[in-house]
C-alpha cells in the first residue's frame, strides 16, 4: 500500500479532516495584561500558583489547561485516546508530572517552542488515520522555570540584550476529534531541521527565521496554494527581528505574504509598553495565542483559513556553553473554518 495522502515533499492532506472541538489556554500575569487579555480562559496572578516550585507550577498549568479543554469538549477524560504533549524543561518534566494523574495513554514530545504544531500535527494524523476519536495536543512554558534552566537566576542583575525575547508563561491544549463541524485541520507540513549557524541563544528569532521560511515555502509549493488562499500565516515565536528576516527570505524566494504574515510573539504582548524587546517566545507563546485568539477568530468567521507555523530552537544549555550553533525547526498546520 502506498501513501496516498502525501502532497509534495513534506506535506500531507487529510482525507477526513479532523475537527478542533475544544481548546483552552491559561496564562500568567504579564500575558494577561497584553492586548489579547480577553481571549484567555484564565489569567494567573501568582507565578507559583500556590505550588512550592516553578516546575510544579508549570505542571499544574499544563494539567489544568488539559482538563479545561477536555471539559469544554464535554467529554470525560477517559474518552481521550491519547495525550500528545511536551514542554521546555529537561526530560519534559512539566508535562510528565502533569499527565501523571490523568490516566490517559501518552506520547511525550520535545519540539521546543514548535511543540504546539508538532503535537497538533500528530494528533491530527492519529485521528485522520482512524487510530483515535479524541486526542489532546498540549504544551506549556513558564518564564521562571525556563529562565533558571536556560539563562540566569531571577534575581541576577544581568541586562537583557536587545534581541532577547520573553518566555511566555502559559499553556494551551486542543482536543482533536473525528466528529465535529470545524475548525478543521486539513494540511500538515512537517519541517526539516535548519541551522544557518546562529549561536547567540539570546537571538532565537534570527536562528529560527530560516526554518520558518523553509517550511512556509515548502507548504506553498507542495499544496499549490497562493497568498490569497490564506487570511493569515502566523509563526510561533520569531519576534520582531525573526519575523523581518523570515519575510525577507520569503521575498527573496518570490513569496510575498504582504500583511498576512504575523507572529504570535508579537501578538501576545504590547511590545513597547511591556518592554519585551523582540517579543514573546516559548511553547506557551504560540499555544496560548492559537488556543485563545486565533481559534476564536476562526470560529466567529473573521478568518477562514490560516497557516499556523510554530517554530522551535532546539538548543540546550549544554550545547550553548559548548558554543554550538542552534538547530531550528518549524511545523505548519492549516486550520480552516469550513471544508471547501
Amino acid at each position: 500500500m502506498s501513501a496516498t495522502k502525501r502532497l509534495g515533499a513534506q506535506t500531507i492532506k487529510m482525507q477526513y479532516p479532523p475537527t478542533i472541538i475544544a481548546s483552552a489556554t491559561i496564562v500568567g500575569e504579564k500575558e494577561g495584561k497584553g492586548p489579547l487579555e480577553n481571549t484567555f480562559d484564565k489569567v494567573l496572578d501568582d507565578a507559583l500558583w500556590g505550588e512550592s516550585s516553578f516546575e510544579k507550577a508549570e505542571s499544574k498549568l499544563m494539567r489544568e489547561t488539559i482538563m479545561l479543554a477536555v471539559e469544554k469538549a464535554e467529554q470525560p477524560m477517559s474518552n481521550m485516546h491519547y495525550i500528545l504533549a511536551g514542554d521546555l524543561l529537561s526530560q519534559c518534566i512539566g508535562t510528565n508530572f502533569a499527565v501523571r494523574e490523568l490516566e490517559v495513554p501518552f506520547f511525550g514530545l520535545y519540539g521546543a517552542c514548535s511543540t504546539m504544531a508538532e503535537s497538533l500535527s500528530l494528533a491530527t494524523i492519529l485521528v485522520d488515520g482512524g487510530f483515535a476519536d479524541y486526542v489532546v495536543a498540549a504544551t506549556s512554558s513558564h518564564f521562571c522555570s525556563a529562565e533558571r534552566q536556560f539563562r540566569f537566576p531571577l534575581a541576577y542583575g544581568g541586562q537583557r540584550t536587545p534581541t532577547a525575547q520573553w518566555t511566555v508563561t502559559g499553556a494551551g491544549a486542543i482536543v482533536v476529534s473525528s466528529n465535529g463541524n470545524g475548525p478543521f485541520i486539513t494540511h500538515i507540513t512537517t519541517g526539516k531541521i535548519i541551522d544557518l549557524g546562529i549561536k547567540d541563544a539570546n537571538n532565537m528569532g534570527a536562528a529560527m527565521a530560516p526554518a520558518a521560511a523553509d517550511t512556509i515555502l515548502q507548504h506553498f509549493s507542495d499544496t499549490g496554494k497562493t497568498v490569497n488562499d490564506y487570511d493569515l500565516v502566523v509563526t510561533g515565536d520569531l519576534g520582531k527581528l525573526g519575523l523581518a528576516l523570515t519575510d525577507q527570505i520569503l521575498k527573496e524566494n518570490n513569496l510575498d505574504l504582504q500583511d498576512k504574515l504575523n507572529d504570535c510573539g508579537l501578538l501576545i504582548y504590547d511590545i513597547e509598553a511591556q518592554d519585551m524587546h523582540m517579543g514573546g517566545s516559548g511553547c506557551g507563546c504560540s499555544a496560548s495565542v492559537l488556543c485563545g485568539h486565533l481559534l476564536k477568530e476562526i470560529k466567529i468567521g473573521n478568518m477562514k483559513r490560516i497557516l499556523f507555523v510554530a517554530t522551535g530552537a532546539l538548543m540546550s544549555p549544554t550545547s550553548t556553553q559548548q558554543n554550538e550553533s542552534i538547530p531550528c525547526i518549524a511545523h505548519a498546520v492549516t486550520i480552516e473554518k469550513e471544508l471547501r
Binding site: E29, F143, C144, P153, L154, A155, G157, G158, T161, D200
Partner: protein, 121 residues
Amino acid sequence: MTNLMTYFNAFWVGGIICVIGQILIDKTKMTPARILVLFVTMGVVLTLIGVYEPLVNLGGAGATVPITGFGYALAKGAQKAVQTYGLLGAFTGGVTATAGGIAAVILFGYLAAVAFNPKEK
C-alpha cells in the same frame, strides 16, 4: 584634598571603570561572568605592574569597590606577604587580605538565600 573632592573622585573613577565594562558588554557580547573574571584578573595584573595603586590613591573607593579592586587587594596582599614571608607569602597573602570580603560574601549570601525568595520580574 578637600573631603568633598574625595567623593567626587570616587564617583568618576568608579563610573569610568563601570563604563569600560558596559562597552565590553555592548560591543563584544561578553557575558557578565566573563566581565567579572576579566576585571578581577586585570586588577591583579595592573597592580603588579604598578598602575592600579595610583588609581586607588586618586579614586579611593572608586577604584577599590569595583571588582578590579578585589584583584588589587589580592595582588597587594600577595606582594606584602612576599616581603615578610618570601615565596610562602605568594600563597597566603592574597586570600588573607581579602578574607573579610570572601567570608562576608559566603555568610551574607547564605543568609540572604535562606531569608528571601526570588520574585518574578
